[in-house]
């Protein structure tokens, strides 16, 4: 069936480095994509979203890139900080659907 998945379950980086978290999606009908951050013991928290009519969107220290040709999504975090340590989920939502489908998640570990 159609699914959202992540390439790397765990990513370790040094404080100050840039981090890139990748996500593959297979539902060609998806036109809305979201990244969430989940800290231990908490619910997921919205980071940034992007619609399929865009290929890049920037926020504060974060950038999301969308490549519809290869159905790939990435989250870039600049100057990664220890507080960025968390599990990151991408989610996709097909046009006309109100329900995001979440991937398995990537654990980001930032070493001071």
């Amino acid at each position: 069936g159609e699914s959202v998945g992540l390439h790397l379950p765990t990513l370790s980086v040094q404080e100050g480095d840039n981090s890139i978290i990748n996500c593959a999606y297979s539902n060609s009908a998806s036109d809305y994509f979201i990244w969430y951050k989940q800290e231990s013991g908490k619910g997921p928290q919205f980071i940034i979203d992007i619609r399929s009519n865009m290929d890049k969107r920037q926020g504060q220290r974060v950038t999301v890139l969308l490549n519809k040709t290869v159905k790939h999504l990435s989250l870039q975090i600049a100057a990664t900080q220890p507080g960025d340590s968390a599990v990151y989920f991408c989610a996709e939502q097909p046009g006309g659907s109100y329900i995001p489908t979440f991937g398995r998640g990537t654990s980001l570990i930032v070493h001071p």
């Binding site: 619910g43 997921p44 919205f46 979203d49 619609r51 939502q93 109100y98 329900i99 979440f102 398995r104």
Partner: protein, 114 residues
């Protein structure tokens, strides 16, 4: 607080018992979601409510699971005759409007079935 509130935060029960999990969404949010998260896994969609419309129950894993939303606000997820595989964190989220946009999640209810 102004966020999504869930209770209980932790629930330990014996196999075969019924449990109820409660969600208080953010005031004014018309959309409400229930997801389930097993250890080290992603979020599995369970059910979606939007205003007074019939809920989307397509994610409920069995007829032991049900949910209701009273007065367009508080929601209760009920699991009957619990099984060990029901052990998970049950997350509730609300959003301002239907369609795309940010979901605001609660901290979840951790259910352990012995």
């Amino acid at each position: 607080g102004a966020g999504v509130s869930q209770s209980p935060s932790n629930k330990v029960t014996e196999k075969g018992k019924d449990v109820e999990l409660r969600c208080d969404p953010i005031s004014g949010h018309t959309a409400l979601y229930w997801y389930r998260q097993s250890l080290g896994q992603g979020l599995e969609f369970l059910i979606y409510f939007q205003g007074n419309s019939a809920p989307d129950k397509s994610g409920l894993p069995s007829d032991r699971f049900s949910a209701e939303r009273t007065g367009g606000s508080v929601s209760t997820l009920t699991i009957q005759r619990t099984q060990q595989e029901d052990s998970a964190v049950y997350l509730c989220a609300s959003s301002l409007a239907q369609g795309t946009g940010e979901l605001f999640f609660g901290e979840g209810s951790r259910l352990t079935v012995l």
